[in-house]
């Protein structure tokens, strides 16, 4: 177990370092000279040179990279070019919105996906399976932002069932917050629920047909017990993996969902930073997402090795 975790952590660290190089190089490739932008178009060459030295842009690239990494490690993400607000402050106000939305969507996706997957396996070859398969197929094929637009039009504007936009902080008024987040979370959860359902079904079919399930049945265990203790426990492993794999999709989905529902979240910040060419913000957003992705997948792998003893053994050997 120790050896496995060590290799896994080392690889994650390496990925973060390599990604940071990619991001740093990418930002250097952006059009426009930051020194020129700060000093103004009419500034004298001396003034521009002074600003360049001030920003550290006259130093060797690796020195600039080292300074950049050092600043990030100290929590200094720079300031927005547009408003002058520290980027950390922008992140602090937008990240909670997205984290609540993502957590809510994941909860819906896992519950609905697992339930549909189990139903599809239990009723193989009959209408519940076809229905569950159909729902999953539609969930994978229909663009969620389109469904979001239609949901706003029909459920919010015409029927007034849900608010069309707006956000209430979770800690201020949880009931109202959940009410505002329900429709966006449902839309965001769709594709993930479909993926969870398909994998759960496949894994249940495999597990329920395996020798150890037959042995369990032979020694007289009831259907419910076998389903829960054997089938579902093995399917949970799959769900954990799917959640890790779907994380990228979840982030992309959050950007679109927030844009449609006008939620003041991290995704909205990402999009705005691109359209206003606010480079320090873009940089910070990409760093947060890549580092977050790597760390969460590391956590998933650790969780996986806790749930599945075989991985621990294989890693130690």
């Amino acid at each position: 177990m120790g050896a496995y975790l060590l290799t896994r952590t080392w690889h994650s660290l390496l990925t973060i370092v390599l990604s940071s190089v990619v991001i740093f190089a990418g930002v250097r490739m952006l059009p426009g000279d930051p020194a020129l932008a700060m000093a103004g178009e009419e500034a004298s060459p001396e003034r521009i040179a002074a600003v360049r030295a001030d920003l550290g842009l006259d130093q060797a690239l690796w020195v600039q990279y080292a300074t950049w990494v050092q600043n990030y490690l100290h929590g200094d993400f720079g300031r927005s070019l547009r408003t002058g607000t520290p980027v950390t402050q922008l992140l602090g106000s937008t990240l909670p919105v997205t984290l609540w939305l993502a957590a809510y969507a994941l909860l819906i996706a896992v519950v609905v996906g697992l339930a549909l997957g189990v139903i599809a396996e239990r009723r193989r070859g009959r209408w519940p399976e076809f229905l569950a398969n159909g729902v999953a197929m539609v969930g994978l094929s229909v663009p969620s932002f389109w469904l979001g637009l239609l949901a706003i039009l029909y459920l919010s504007v015409r029927l007034s069932l849900f608010p069309a936009s707006g956000y209430v902080p979770m800690l201020e008024n949880p009931v109202d917050a959940i009410y505002h987040l329900t429709l966006p979370a449902l839309i965001l959860s769709l594709a993930i629920a479909a993926a969870v359902m398909r994998q759960t079904r496949a894994s249940m079919i495999e597990t329920m047909g395996s020798d150890f399930v037959r042995t369990a049945r032979a020694k007289g265990l009831g259907g419910q017990r076998v389903l829960l203790a054997y089938g579902l426990r093995n399917s949970l492993l799959v769900v954990v993996t799917i959640v890790g794999l779907q994380l990228g999709g979840l982030i992309s989905g959050a950007v679109v969902t927030e844009s449609i529902f006008g939620l003041p979240g991290f995704g909205k910040l990402t999009l705005n930073s691109v359209f206003t060419r606010d480079y320090p913000v873009i940089e910070a957003v990409v760093v947060i997402i890549t580092v977050g992705y790597v760390l969460i997948n590391l956590a998933v792998d650790v969780l996986y090795s806790v749930l599945d003893p075989r991985i621990r053994v294989a890693g130690a050997a």
Binding site: S19, M137, P143, F145, W146, L149, I152, G248, I251, I282
Partner: protein, 293 residues
């Protein structure tokens, strides 16, 4: 190809077998037929479309579907929805095909290399890890910031985002095929690594690559719609299904049809691809041997 198909170790079904299975799979065939119609309509868009994709009729904005001359109505600038959708489908499929091409051209060689040499495997794995840490939307955001938003930007972002999956599939196939007798025989006969890769491993990994391509395609079509909707892909006034939805967003309460048609077409394209791809995967999968034949 024929000689390798007769070996007992071939994991994927022979052409005659999979076609027989495919034909008996009604949903997959339905997906294929719908797909064929959409592709045909998209390719023939310049012939079929009554108007150009950006032709405006300022005297006829917000026409209802079924209006004479405008079968699916017009938008706020009086542009014909049907014509724009035909050209939009063309753009969607174009981005889809090009993205698959990028993913294949980059992913297949890397997968082959990773599956052939141990030292390269570690290197490629680290590359895959890094590529996976950038979700396609973030890639597109970064590329749009560097190069500006465009169709090629969308293709690049979607292509790169799907490279890791392609590498994994090809690597897995290469590792499996290396243990087969015919590869061992080729190695014994002093075939070079490149020859083994090109003549023995690649042809046998083709089925897996095709299946993977059918998985990437709908995902890229959906991705293009998302990027264009957000303004990171194809730029207005050019027609794309995502651009049409983005344009329709502010007029939805006034004219819901503007939003219904383009979204439905994206859904139809992706659904038919997924149905066809699922069927293809099942029919090529050796695990289905006893079940269907």
């Amino acid at each position: 190809m024929t000689t390798t198909m007769t070996t007992t170790t071939t994991a994927y079904a022979a052409p005659s077998t999979w076609w027989r299975r495919m034909r008996s799979n009604r949903t997959a065939m339905a997906g294929g037929v719908i797909l064929g119609i959409v592709v045909l309509a998209a390719v023939l868009a310049p012939v079929l479309a009554p108007y150009g994709p950006t032709t405006t009729h300022f005297d006829a904005p917000f026409q209802r579907p079924g209006t004479i001359g405008f079968a699916l109505g017009t938008d706020n600038l009086g542009r014909d929805t049907l014509s724009r959708m035909l050209y939009g489908a063309r753009a969607s499929l174009q981005v889809g095909v090009l993205s698959v091409l990028v993913a294949t051209v980059v992913g297949v060689p890397l997968g082959l290399i990773a599956g052939s040499w141990r030292w390269a495997d570690a290197l490629v794995s680290r590359f895959t890890d890094v590529a996976l840490a950038f979700p396609f939307l973030i890639l597109a955001v970064g590329l749009a910031a560097i190069r500006g938003a465009s169709l090629s930007n969308a293709v690049l972002a979607l292509g790169i985002a799907h490279v890791p999956q392609m590498i994994r599939v090809v690597r897995g196939e290469a590792l499996r095929l290396r243990t087969t007798d015919f590869v061992a025989a080729a190695v014994t006969m002093n075939a070079s690594s490149l020859r083994v890769m090109g003549r023995h491993i690649l042809p046998n990994a083709l089925s897996a690559i095709i299946v993977q391509a059918t998985i990437i395609m709908p995902s890229a079509v959906l991705g293009e719609a998302v990027l264009s909707f957000l303004g990171l892909g194809i730029q207005p006034p050019e027609a794309s299904l995502g651009v049409m939805l983005s344009d329709a967003q502010q007029y939805l309460a006034q004219d819901a049809w503007l939003g219904v048609f383009p979204g439905a077409l994206i859904a139809i394209i992706c659904l038919s691809f997924n149905l066809f791809g699922d069927g293809l995967r099942d029919s090529l999968d050796p695990a289905n041997d006893e079940r269907t034949s």
